[in-house]
C-alpha cells in the first residue's frame, strides 16, 4: 500500500512539479517496464553514495525524472546515459533518509513522452563508509603486467592509487587488509621481485620476511585483530589447474594450509596444533570483533590433488583466542558443517557488532571466485541459524566480501555482469540480518566504463577514510629494506 501511494505521489509530483529548462511533460503512463544497466531498480542505497548514473537498454531518446514526496528534477539522457547532477542527488538523498525516491524513465515516441513504470530506490539512514580499497588486476592466471591497489571515494567517482606495481618493477601486490577499516593501519603482500609484507601503521612502514622454518609458506590471507596487535594469517601451498571444458575455468586449490597468528609488535608468529594439523587444510582466518575468537575454514586433507578437487569441503570453525598471551583454546567448534551438506565454505567475515557472520558457500574447494555457484550466506551468531543472502546472490559468482564499520553494509565481489570480470556490489544488511537488493559501484557512464574496463576488482575492503601513505616510500621500503625476519614462537 505504501508502495502504491509512493508511486502515485511520485507520478503526480513528476507531472505537476517540473522545473524549467529542458524538462518534459509526460503524455502517457504505461505499466511496461524498461531494462536499464546497471540494474538499479528497487535497490537500497546509503544517503552518502555517489549518483547512480545508468543507461537505458534501448535506442530511443529518454528522459529521467527523479522525485520524492515534495520535489523532482529531470535528467536528459546524453551520450547514452543519465548523468545525474551530483549536488541535486546529494540533496535529495539527504532529505530522504529512511525513505524512498522514485525514478521514472520516459521515452520520446513521436512527439509524446511516454513514461514507463517507475521504480523506487530506498535510502537508508545508515551511512556507508566513505571509501573502499581494492586491487585492479586482469582476471588471469599466472602472468601479469601492471596492477595496483586503489581506493574509491564512494560519495563521488574519484579513484586514486594507493600503490602501483610500476613503482617496484612490476611485481605482484596483493592481500591488502585494514584493521577495523582504519586507513592508517593496513598491510599488503609483495610477491616475486622485492618479496615481503608491508605493515603500515600511522605512517610507519615495516617490511617483513614472513617465511619461517616452521611454516609452509610466507604468510597469505590476513585478518587483523580488533586491537591492532595481531594479524591472523593462513599459510598455503597453492596450485592451480585448468579445466578442459567447465564453466569454472580453473580450479585453485591448496595442497596444504594452516592458520597462524602474527604479533605485530614482537614480530613473532604462533599457532596451535589444532590449526596446523596435517590431516586438515585450515585457512581463511578471521577474528571476532571482541578479539576472543578466531574463526577459520577447515577441510579434511585430501591427497591426489587436483584429481580429488571436488572432494575438498571446508567447514566453518572457531577456536578461542587469548589476546593477552597469544594462545589458543583447546578445542575447535564447528559453526557450520558445510561438508555434511556436500558443500564448502570460505571467507568468513563477522560484522563489527558481532551479530552476523557472512561467508561464501559453494560446492567444493576454497577459491570461490572461480566457482559459478558461489553465493553469500549468513550465520546469525545469536541463534546460530544459517541462511542465504538471497537478495544479494545471482546465478553467477558471489565471493569475497567485507563489512562496513557500522555493520549495515556489505561490499562483495560478483561476476554477474559478464561472468568473468569481477565487479563490486553493495548490499544493505538490515536489523534482521536480511540482505537487500545490491547495487553495483556507481560510475559516470557505467555501461561504457565497465564494458571497456579490462580488469577485475579484487578484495574490496571498506575503509573509514582515505589512505594517505606515500607510495614512493612504500616502494623504497620494498626495494631497499632488508626486512624484519619474522620468527616462530
Amino acid at each position: 500500500m505504501k508502495h502504491i501511494s509512493l508511486y502515485f505521489i511520485g507520478i503526480c509530483t513528476a507531472l505537476l512539479f517540473t522545473s524549467c529548462g529542458k524538462d518534459i511533460k509526460i503524455s502517457k503512463q504505461t505499466e511496461k517496464e524498461i531494462s536499464i544497466f546497471p540494474d538499479y531498480k528497487n535497490v537500497t542505497i546509503p544517503y552518502n553514495i555517489a549518483p547512480l548514473d545508468f543507461s537505458v537498454n534501448g535506442n530511443a531518446k529518454y528522459q529521467l525524472i527523479i522525485s520524492d514526496n515534495h520535489r523532482s528534477f529531470q535528467v536528459e539522457e546524453t551520450n547514452g546515459f543519465f548523468d545525474i547532477p551530483i549536488s541535486k542527488w546529494k540533496d535529495l538523498l539527504q532529505q530522504n533518509k529512511d525513505k524512498s525516491i522514485l525514478l521514472t524513465i520516459c521515452e520520446l515516441q513521436g512527439k509524446e513522452w511516454i513514461a514507463y513504470k517507475p521504480f523506487q530506490i530506498d535510502i537508508t539512514k545508515e551511512s556507508i563508509d566513505p571509501y573502499i580499497a581494492y586491487r585492479l588486476i586482469p582476471p588471469g592466471y599466472e602472468l601479469w603486467n601492471e596492477m595496483g591497489i586503489y581506493q574509491r571515494d564512494l560519495s563521488s567517482f574519484d579513484q586514486s592509487c594507493i600503490y602501483k606495481n610500476t613503482l617496484s618493477d612490476k611485481n605482484c601486490v596483493n592481500c591488502h587488509s585494514f584493521c577495523m577499516q582504519n586507513p592508517k593501519q593496513m598491510m599488503f603482500h609483495s610477491r616475486a621481485k622485492h618479496a615481503g609484507t608491508l605493515v603500515i601503521e600511522n605512517g610507519k612502514i615495516e617490511k617483513l620476511n614472513t617465511k619461517t622454518d616452521q611454516t609452509i609458506s610466507p604468510l597469505v590471507y590476513p585478518s587483523w585483530h580488533p586491537s591492532g596487535k595481531y594479524i591472523a594469517f593462513s599459510v598455503n601451498t597453492t596450485k592451480q589447474s585448468f579445466h578442459n571444458f567447465n564453466r569454472n575455468r580453473i580450479e585453485v586449490f591448496d595442497q596444504a594450509s594452516d592458520v597462524v597468528v602474527y604479533d605485530v609488535e614482537k614480530h613473532q608468529i604462533s599457532s596451535s596444533p589444532l590449526l596446523k594439523s596435517q590431516k586438515a587444510f585450515e585457512t581463511f582466518p578471521t577474528f571476532s570483533p571482541d578479539g576472543k575468537s578466531l574463526y577459520f575454514c577447515s577441510a579434511q586433507a585430501v591427497d591426489s590433488m587436483p584429481q580429488k578437487y571436488d572432494k575438498v569441503k571446508y567447514n566453518l570453525c572457531r577456536i578461542d583466542f587469548h589476546p593477552q598471551n597469544m594462545t589458543f583454546g583447546n578445542h575447535v567448534d564447528t559453526i557450520f558443517n558445510a561438508a555434511a551438506l556436500s558443500k564448502s565454505a570460505s571467507f568468513p567475515r563477522i560484522s563489527p557488532d558481532g551479530k552476523y557472520l557472512i561467508f561464501t558457500l559453494h560446492s567444493y574447494g576454497n577459491f570461490s571466485i572461480w566457482h559459478k555457484d558461489a553465493d553469500l550466506y549468513a550465520v546469525n551468531l545469536c541463534n546460530k541459524k544459517t541462511y542465504a543472502l538471497t537478495a544479494a546472490n545471482s546465478k553467477d559468482t558471489e565471493s569475497y566480501h567485507s563489512w562496513s564499520s557500522n555493520s549495515h553494509w556489505l561490499v562483495f565481489s560478483s561476476r554477474r555482469v559478464d561472468g568473468l570480470y569481477t565487479r563490486p556490489f553493495f548490499t544493505y544488511i538490515d536489523k534482521k540480518g536480511k540482505a537487500h537488493k545490491p547495487f553495483m559501484l556507481p560510475q559516470k557512464n557505467p555501461r561504457k566504463y565497465y564494458r571497456e574496463l579490462m580488469v577485475s576488482y579484487n578484495i574490496p575492503e571498506f575503509i573509514k577514510g582515505k589512505v594517505d601513505v606515500n607510495k614512493h616510500k612504500l616502494a623504497e621500503t620494498l626495494k631497499k629494506s632488508e626486512g624484519i625476519n619474522v620468527s616462530y614462537k
Partner: protein, 604 residues
C-alpha cells in the same frame, strides 16, 4: 672597355656565386632525398617484421576517454602519437614509410636549426646523425616508438626556439622555460635533452640557459615524487622510452647525446671559415661515410637475428602464409620455436604426416615446445592448441600472452580470445572483446563480423571454423596439462574424430618421441575409424618398426605392400653399409632421410 670587362667579370662572378648557392641548396635537397630513400629501403629490408611486431604489441583504440586519459600523463602525448602511428604498421611497408617520414622531419628540422649557425654547410650530414641512431635503436623491440616521436618533438621545439629566440635575458628565460615545460609535459625527459641542446646552439646567454635547464630538472624531480615513475632515470634519461624492467644499453645514451653533439659541432664550424673548401668537402664526405658505417654496424650489433626470425614466423602465421613459414623455418638455423611454426604450417596445409621428416625434427619439442610463460611462447602455443582443438588451453595461452603485451593488448590474441569465448558460449565476455576491437582501425571490421555469433549457437555451429572447434569440446570433465599432451589431445579425437589436426599432432608427437607403445595404442585403437581412416606412410613405417616379425599384424593395421618393399630395401642397404664399413647415417640419408626408420635409428 675595361669597365665593361670589369662589369662582365663581376657579373660572371655573381652568376657563379648564385649558381653555387643554388647548387649548394639543391645538393642538400638531393642528399636529403637520397638519404631518405636509402633509409626507407634499409628500414623495409631490415626491420619490416619488427614493425609488424610493434603493431601487435599494442592496440590503439579510437576512444576519446582513453586518449584524453593518456594525454593527462607526463609523456602521454609522445606515447599516444607513437601508438597512433604504430597501428598502421600492420599494412606492409607503412612502418618503413612512416618512420622514414618521421626521421626525415626530425633531420630536416635539425638542419633548419643548424643552418642558422654560420659556415655550418659542411656539417649538413650531422643533421642525420640522431635519425641514424634511431634506426639502430628501433632494432630493439624494447625501445618504444615514443622515443622516435620524442626526438622529433625536440627537433621541432629547437626549431621553434631558434625562430623566435630573443637576445633579452628575461624573454629568453620565459620563452625557453615555457617551451621546456610544454615539452616536458608532452614527452617527458626529452625536455632535458632540449635544454642540453640549447647550450650547444650557441655560447651566449649561458646563465639563462642554465636556469631553463634547472627548471627542466626540477620538473623531472617533482614528477618522480608525485607520479608512478619508478626511478629518476625515467625522468632524466632515454630510459623512459625503453622497457621499464630492463636497463638499456649504452648506445641509448650515445644516441641521446648525438643531438646536442650535432649542434655543438655545427656551432663550432663557425671557426672553420678559414678552412679550405677542399677540406670542408672532405669532412662532409667523411661524415656521410661515418653515418653509413655507424648505422649498418650499429644495427648489426643490436639486432637479434634469432628473434627477428621468430617474429617473422609470427607474422606469417597470423597471415596464414604457410608456404613462406615452411621455407623460412627451413632456411634459418634450427631451433624448437621455428620447428613448431614449421610443423604448424604443415598441419594447416594437411601435410604434417606427409612431410614431417622431410624437415629436420628433433624430438617432440619440435612439435610443441614447453611453456616457459614468455609472451612469444604462449602466443605460439595458443595457436597450436587452437589448431588441434584444445580450446581451453588455447584460451589460457591467449590470455597469458595478451597479459604480457607491452602496450596492454595484442590484437591477434584478442581475436583468439573472441573466438574461444564464442566457442565456449561465454557470450558476454566475447561481446566485451568485440567491442574493444571495434574501436581499433584495423580490426573493427573483423570484430563487427563476429557479432552475428553472439548468443547464436546455430550460427556458431554452422560456421566451418567455430563449429568445428565447438565440436572439439570434450565431454568428459578433466584438467588439461595434467596427464600430458597426448592425453589432452586424445580427448579431442574421441569427441570429434574429424578434427584431423588433433590426430596428426598425436601421431607426430608419438613418432618424434619414439614412443612405440603409444604408437601401437593409437594404431590399434583408432586405425580404421573415422579418426584414422588410413595410416600415413610414416606411421606404417613405425608399425613395421615394432611389429616387424608379425607381418599379418602390420597388414591388418594398414601397412601396405609398398611400405614393406621399401623396408626390405632399407634393411638390405643398412646391412650392406655395415658390411662395407660405411656410415649408414650418411649413406642412407639421401634416399631414406625422410623415413621414420631413419629418424628412429639415427636421430638422438
Amino acid at each position: 672597355m675595361i669597365i665593361c670587362l670589369f662589369y662582365k667579370k663581376n657579373n660572371i662572378f655573381v652568376v657563379k656565386s648564385v649558381f653555387m648557392k643554388i647548387a649548394r641548396n639543391y645538393l642538400d635537397f638531393l642528399i636529403g632525398i637520397a638519404f631518405l630513400c636509402l633509409l626507407e629501403y634499409f628500414l623495409q629490408t631490415k626491420l619490416a617484421y619488427l614493425f609488424f611486431y610493434r603493431e601487435q604489441e599494442q592496440l590503439f583504440l579510437w576512444n576519446s576517454d582513453i586518449i584524453l586519459n593518456q594525454l593527462k600523463h607526463i609523456g602521454g602525448f609522445s606515447t599516444l602519437v607513437g601508438q597512433f602511428f604504430v597501428q598502421f604498421f600492420v599494412v606492409p611497408k607503412l612502418g618503413a614509410i612512416i618512420t622514414t617520414i618521421v626521421l626525415g622531419l626530425t633531420s630536416l628540422l635539425l638542419w633548419l636549426t643548424i643552418k642558422k649557425s654560420p659556415h655550418a654547410d659542411f656539417a649538413f650530414p650531422l643533421s642525420f646523425l640522431p635519425a641514424t641512431f634511431q634506426v639502430i635503436l628501433l632494432a630493439d623491440v624494447n625501445y618504444h616508438y615514443d622515443g622516435v616521436i620524442a626526438l622529433l618533438m625536440v627537433s621541432l621545439f629547437l626549431f621553434i626556439y631558434k625562430q623566435f629566440e630573443s637576445s633579452k635575458s628575461i624573454s629568453q628565460i620565459l620563452w625557453g622555460s615555457g617551451l621546456t615545460m610544454i615539452l616536458f609535459f608532452l614527452t617527458g625527459p626529452a625536455a632535458i635533452l632540449f635544454c642540453l641542446c640549447l647550450f650547444c646552439l650557441d655560447f651566449i646567454n649561458i646563465w639563462e640557459k642554465g636556469i631553463i635547464l634547472f627548471i627542466a630538472c626540477f620538473l623531472g624531480y617533482i614528477s618522480v615524487l608525485t607520479t608512478s615513475m619508478n626511478d629518476f632515470r625515467f625522468a632524466f634519461l632515454p630510459d623512459a622510452y625503453y622497457e621499464s624492467l630492463l636497463t638499456p644499453d649504452k648506445i641509448y645514451l650515445i644516441s641521446w647525446f648525438s643531438l646536442p653533439v650535432s649542434l655543438l659541432i655545427s656551432h663550432l664550424s663557425g671557426y672553420t671559415q678559414k678552412w679550405k673548401k677542399f677540406i670542408k668537402i672532405s669532412m662532409e664526405i667523411i661524415l656521410i661515410f661515418f653515418l653509413f658505417y655507424n648505422t649498418i654496424d650499429g644495427f648489426a650489433a643490436h639486432q637479434d637475428e634469432k628473434f627477428y626470425q621468430l617474429i617473422k614466423l609470427e607474422y606469417l602465421e597470423a597471415n596464414e602464409q604457410w608456404d613462406e613459414i615452411i621455407q623460412t623455418a627451413e632456411e634459418s638455423s634450427h631451433n624448437y620455436l621455428y620447428c613448431n611454426y614449421q610443423n604448424l604450417a604443415l598441419a594447416h596445409k594437411g601435410e604434417l604426416m606427409k612431410h614431417l621428416f622431410d624437415y629436420s625434427q628433433n624430438g617432440p619439442l619440435s612439435l610443441v615446445v614447453e611453456n616457459n610463460k614468455s609472451k612469444e611462447v604462449t602466443q605460439l602455443l595458443s595457436q597450436i592448441y587452437f589448431t588441434i582443438g584444445n580450446i581451453a588451453a588455447a584460451q589460457n595461452m591467449a590470455f597469458e600472452s595478451n597479459a604480457g603485451a607491452i602496450g596492454k593488448d595484442n590484437p591477434e590474441m584478442m581475436k583468439l580470445l573472441i573466438q574461444t569465448n564464442l566457442i565456449l558460449g561465454a557470450y558476454p565476455v566475447a561481446e566485451k572483446y568485440i567491442h574493444l576491437l571495434e574501436q581499433s582501425w584495423k580490426y573493427r571490421q573483423w570484430a563487427g563480423e563476429q557479432r552475428k555469433f553472439l548468443y547464436n549457437d546455430h550460427a556458431i555451429e554452422s560456421d566451418s571454423l567455430l563449429g568445428m572447434k565447438r565440436r572439439d569440446l570434450p565431454q568428459k570433465a578433466d584438467f588439461i596439462y595434467l596427464d600430458g599432451f597426448i592425453a589432452d589431445t586424445e580427448q579431442t579425437i574421441q569427441v570429434n574424430p574429424k578434427e584431423r589436426c588433433a590426430m596428426e599432432y598425436v601421431e607426430a608427437y608419438l613418432l618424434l618421441s619414439k614412443d612405440m607403445r603409444g604408437i601401437k595404442y593409437i594404431v590399434e585403437k583408432y586405425g580404421g575409424t573415422p579418426a584414422l581412416t588410413s595410416l600415413p606412410s610414416i606411421m606404417q613405417e613405425a608399425v613395421i618398426s615394432y611389429a616387424e616379425k608379425d607381418p599379418d599384424y602390420c597388414t591388418k593395421h594398414g601397412v601396405t605392400e609398398e611400405t614393406f618393399e621399401r623396408y626390405r630395401d632399407y634393411k638390405q642397404k643398412y646391412i650392406e653399409c655395415r658390411n662395407f664399413g660405411r656410415n649408414p647415417a650418411d649413406a642412407l640419408h639421401a634416399e631414406y632421410g625422410n623415413s621414420y626408420w631413419y629418424y628412429l635409428m639415427f636421430k638422438q
